[in-house]
């Protein structure tokens, strides 16, 4: 599948944004009102800013961005529509949570429930994003049980790294998030290892003969058009196995460096800012590879022997 940069930016930025928002909600639910107004305001702006920038970027690849509002209508059948609805519902709760948590509106008892609801909605939105991909039967590498967990853990790990970076910047105690962050990064690496093992082991048992109904001895003889059409441009992009291997290695190295930096950050907190940058780069590598390794079944009609 062709890796569209607007979609990669959307999923990585909004993933980090929702992860941060969820952790802010959970932290507030357990600790109550924040002592630092500046921390609340800046972290809420960054979380909602990343989410909003991501959502806006996702509309850039649309043919008609001005019609994007229509995408909220088909939540009964479409995961993309559900994603839009979940994203929109999250906003008012996140804003109400931010206003009470910061103390701008004194409603102490509302902080915990609003924080929990915001966290739940944040993860729900990321869940729907993962489901858009996981529900596509046409792309074997996406139609996997681990696709959605990887999306959720990426949101958690990148959000937690961002939380630590912000806490370090405001010289706040990050509490249990300091433990959660390296653990979530390790869990993410493990999940991704299991995901890649699963897609490598999944049999590519659909052949050109199955697709065309012409039996096992069929070969492409003539392509229907002289230059690539939309189907080939959009669905025909597959990265070479050699490059995929290198990028997977790079991903593991980035996560390892990030974990080490997060541990170093226990004594030198500002290091966690660098750690977050590395986690965000690893998200780009992983997301690009996720698209580039998504082999679409339609390629069987275009000369791919099996998929």
């Amino acid at each position: 599948m062709n890796p569209a940069y607007s979609v990669i930016f959307f999923t990585t930025a909004s993933g980090a944004g929702y992860g941060l928002l969820a952790l802010l909600g959970l932290t507030a639910a357990s600790l109550g009102q924040s002592a630092s107004l500046a921390f609340v305001i800046v972290s809420m702006i960054i979380a909602l800013g990343l989410i909003t920038a991501g959502l806006l970027s996702s509309t850039l690849h649309l043919g008609h961005p001005e019609r994007a509002w229509r995408a909220l209508s088909q939540w009964k059948t479409s995961w993309l529509s559900r994603e839009g609805v979940a994203a929109i519902i999250t906003y008012p709760f996140a804003l109400a949570f931010g206003v009470t948590w910061s103390g701008l509106y004194p409603a102490h008892h509302a902080i915990a429930p609003l924080g929990l609801i915001t966290a739940l909605l944040s993860f729900s939105t990321v869940f729907t994003t993962g489901k858009i991909y996981a529900s596509l039967k046409t792309i074997r590498a996406w139609h996997q049980p681990l696709t959605v967990p990887v999306y959720l853990f990426f949101a958690l790990a990148s959000g937690a790294s961002l939380f630590l970076a912000l806490s370090a910047f405001f010289m706040r105690d990050s509490g249990s998030v300091a433990t959660v962050t390296p653990l979530s990064l390790i869990a993410l690496a493990l999940l991704k290892y299991l995901y890649w093992r699963a897609i490598d082991r999944a049999p590519r048992d659909r052949t050109m003969g199955d697709a065309t109904g012409l039996g096992p001895n069929v070969r492409q003889w003539e392509v229907p058009h002289t230059t690539k059409n939309f189907v080939q441009r959009e669905m025909g992009f597959v990265v070479a196995r050699r490059h995929a291997k290198r990028l997977r290695g790079l991903f593991y190295i980035l996560l390892l460096v990030a974990v080490l930096l997060e541990l170093l950050a226990i004594t030198i907190p500002l290091v966690s800012i660098l750690a977050f940058c590395i986690v965000f780069i690893s998200a780009w590598v992983e997301r690009w590879l996720f698209f580039a390794q998504g082999e679409h079944i339609v390629t069987l009609f275009y000369g791919n022997a099996q998929a």
Partner: protein, 248 residues
């Protein structure tokens, strides 16, 4: 709405005969010609006189070769590929806006060009590559089964057929109601063993493909041996001529 109809009154679709298709592209070009002026917006191409001409076409004619390991029945098969108007199409249910829909009255799968946002998710969901994005219009395009021909009362009844069917010079394309067991197309599918593409995907395509027929007179591989002579004067004369001409 992207919710699928429980049943459709008719199942209009195409039956494509892989035995008689000669790969002439008449269906593809007549499709492009009709659909660039009919339903939805024009099917405009990009870079038409440049190095990389491309654009949405709703019908693509592939060519495949089948190699018979016995060397007797190897052949080329021309393979037109377009929307199969599935009974349970994922391209419809993934659509976030409801622009993609399946008609309850005849089962035709259409895209409303006024509400499509051009997210392309439907093209990802289709295993048959039936949908092509129109960069100029910013919406998805697909076969409409010439919905603006088949019900067009300004046409003579025999012309109320998809443009591709009308254009086919070998009669390899048939249009009709595949939901009606007694229709000509259903009978044809029954007689010839018509099959679905990728039935295991579960989308229940309406369009059917008729497999190539077995060849009748299969020539043996290699050059046939010369007949044995009968030793007559004429036969000896031919043998002499053969030796002289062969130079040995």
């Amino acid at each position: 709405m992207t919710a699928l109809p429980q049943t459709t009154a008719k199942k209009l679709g195409l039956v494509i005969d892989l035995d008689t298709c000669v790969g002439c592209q008449a269906c593809a070009t007549s499709c492009k010609e009709w659909n660039t002026q009919g339903y939805s917006a024009p099917l405009a191409d990009e870079d038409t006189r440049g190095a990389d001409p491309h654009g949405p076409w709703l019908n693509r004619i592939h060519g495949y070769e089948i190699e018979d390991t016995n060397g007797k029945d190897s052949r080329v098969v021309h393979f037109p590929r377009s929307c199969l108007h599935c009974e349970t199409p994922a391209c419809v249910t993934v659509c976030p806006t409801g622009a993609s829909y399946k008609r309850a009255e005849d089962g035709i799968v259409l895209v409303n060009p006024d509400t499509c946002i051009g997210c392309k998710l439907c093209s990802w969901a289709c295993p048959y590559g039936a949908r092509e994005y129109d960069v100029q219009e910013g919406v998805m395009k697909k076969c409409t089964l010439c919905v603006d021909r088949i019900y067009n009362e300004n046409f003579e009844p025999e012309d109320r057929q998809p443009a591709c069917v009308k254009a086919c010079p070998t009669g390899a394309r048939h249009f009709g109601d595949l939901g009606d067991e007694n229709s000509a197309v259903s009978q044809l599918v029954k007689e010839r063993g018509g099959f679905d593409l990728l039935p295991e995907m579960g989308y229940k395509p309406t369009n059917k493909y008729l497999p190539p027929r077995a060849k009748r007179d299969t020539p043996q591989a290699g050059i046939e041996a010369l007949p044995k002579g009968d030793g007559s004067a004429m036969d000896r004369l031919f043998k002499l001529a053969d030796r002289l001409l062969s130079g040995n």
